[in-house]
């Protein structure tokens, strides 16, 4: 990926997240407080506005740090704050490397996920967006390139999310719902899946059949 394709991919991802606002809102309302759609949409819109004017696509690290800062100021919700801290950690870990290199993406994901686990005091299996991210990272490690990795990552993220659907969440507002959140996919994991889909250029609805209504 060159600078223009990085920009294109990022814009595609952000627009896709905005398009899925209602889905995030509904999943979050069923299990939490329903603000995830706004959180994701407002951050994505702010980043879209910022990109053409300020982004330095030459440096992946600077780009990620800039996006982290926008998440922190525009959408400092639990999800937004954790994504911001994760992106910041990824930026530091990547340093001078470029994101179009699979190994630097893995390095960034590892650092970002570690930070999200630490600050969110959560682990895979707690029914958070780690259940999508951690399996995605695992398959990315063994892939030959980013292009090869993305469909595998999406499939792994979906599998991780679907596997946790029957579980009761342990963190955040969703945890208070207890049993009632069983059968509903974690909204943050669905954000991860939608992001991976957008990067890959697909759009499927793997959990429609299982989505519980309150």
């Amino acid at each position: 990926m060159g600078e223009s394709s990085t920009k294109d991919a990022l814009e595609c991802l952000l627009r896709s997240l905005i398009d899925h606002e209602e889905e995030f809102r509904e999943l979050d309302a069923a299990a939490g407080d329903g603000d995830l759609g706004i959180t994701v949409r407002s951050a994505a819109a702010a980043i879209l506005e910022w990109l053409p004017r300020n982004a330095t696509f030459g440096s992946t690290s600077d780009l990620l740090a800039g996006i982290a800062q926008i998440c922190a100021s525009t959408s400092p919700s639990t999800f937004g704050s954790l994504v911001s801290r994760g992106l910041d950690a990824a930026a530091k870990a990547i340093g001078d490397q470029q994101i179009d290199d699979l190994s630097s993406m893995v390095v960034g994901l590892e650092a970002g996920i570690a930070m999200v686990q630490r600050r969110g005091r959560a682990a895979p299996g707690d029914k958070t967006f780690l259940d999508a991210l951690v399996p995605a990272l695992a398959v990315a490690r063994g892939a030959a390139s980013i292009t090869v990795a993305l469909p595998l990552m999406r499939a792994a993220a979906i599998a991780g999310t679907v596997q946790m659907m029957p579980a009761v969440p342990k963190h955040g507002r969703a945890a208070w719902v207890g049993e009632r959140a069983s059968g509903i996919p974690d909204a943050g994991s669905v954000v991860v899946i939608r992001a991976l889909e957008a990067l890959e250029g697909t759009d499927v609805q793997p959990w429609d059949a299982g989505t519980a209504s309150r």
Partner: protein
């Protein structure tokens, strides 16, 4: 959705602008963030512990309304039902610091904790002493074994009043934090929701509830509660909430308490007094002495219908702190 507003995305900034214009003698915006509001006399005449609170918008008079004389010194304001930013927290902190340190006093929510902790780290880098106390008074949000993960709701207001009085009386940072901790240790809250709320930016109800249902244990963001029941009468509601609260407080004959019957937004005062009447009778029957009662809107969830009951256990020190004078233009009786 019928809401009085302009662009939904401007909801918070618009209400803040109007509020600052309405009470220029009481509130001021502070440098560094448009989402930090301080008391006009946040630092007071003498150095004192500053109390910084914060949380999502949509709960007025919580959190902003508890910035005032004998209460908090500044607040960091988030989007509707969403955590305030680190920038806002840091700006509120700097506006409050007068050399005796800052107590961060807020509700136990993941995002608030992450951002307040980062704000506290940055404040300490600037040489400011900090302490943190999180309210986790909602009995419906986790079982007693996991009480540390409970959410903070209306009982937080008792901690504002006691810690605010302590700070005004010249207590040190650790003493002020101790007062906040002790007031929350003896406070329990539970709520009931009768209708959903609509986040302005989302434009849709946060949940659906049938006409003849009530949601027991609802949170102040419309988080689903512990169970749904067929709508009960006022006595039934008061009994269910009070029993859950009393089961966790070690109250005996002659125990002294403060009681808060709080509207979640839309429920009118008449209904709150019906609830309070039952609560007062039940407590009197158990020989428990209600030192003070607060009935009204203290911690809301926009236009949600419903109420919460909070009971706080009092000792002599907490009683005198609770009785100390306080003032905020957003609180009528506090």
């Amino acid at each position: 959705m019928r809401k009085i507003m302009n662009a939904p995305k401007d909801f918070v900034d618009d209400f803040l602008a109007g509020l600052l214009k309405a009470y220029p003698r009481d509130f001021r915006s502070v440098p560094g963030s448009t989402r930090a509001i301080a008391r006009v006399e946040a630092r007071g005449a003498d150095p004192r512990v500053g109390i910084v609170t914060g949380g999502g918008s949509g709960h007025l008079p919580l959190f902003l309304g508890y910035v005032g004389q004998g209460l908090c010194s500044a607040v960091a304001v988030g989007n509707t039902f969403s955590s305030p930013s680190v920038d806002a927290i840091l700006a509120a902190t700097k506006a409050s610091e007068s050399g005796k340190g800052i107590l961060f006093l807020y509700g136990n929510y993941s995002g608030d904790g992450i951002n307040f902790d980062d704000g506290a780290d940055m404040a300490r880098d600037d040489g400011i002493d900090t302490a943190t106390v999180r309210a986790a008074d909602d009995v419906a949000s986790a079982p007693p074994a996991a009480s540390g993960s409970r959410r903070g709701v209306a009982g937080l207001t008792f901690a504002f009043k006691c810690a605010g009085a302590a700070a005004a009386a010249g207590y040190s940072l650790s003493e002020t934090a101790g007062v906040a901790t002790r007031s929350l240790e003896g406070t329990r809250t539970m709520g009931v929701g009768l209708s959903p709320t609509i986040i302005p930016e989302a434009g849709r109800p946060t949940f659906q509830l049938s006409e003849d249902e009530m949601e027991l244990g609802i949170g102040i963001h419309g988080e689903p509660g512990i169970r749904r029941e067929k709508m009960g009468d006022a006595n039934r509601i008061a009994d269910v909430l009070l029993e859950a609260i009393l089961a966790e407080l070690e109250l005996t004959v002659l125990s002294r308490v403060a009681v808060l019957v709080n509207s979640l937004g839309a429920t009118p005062e008449e209904e709150l007094y019906i609830i309070y009447g039952r609560v007062a009778n039940r407590l009197a029957a158990n020989g428990i002495n209600v030192h003070r009662a607060f009935v009204g809107r203290y911690a809301t969830s926009l236009e949600m219908a419903g109420c919460s009951i909070s009971v706080m256990t009092l000792d002599d020190e907490l009683t005198s702190l609770l009785d100390a004078q306080s003032y905020s233009p957003l609180l009528r009786h506090f």
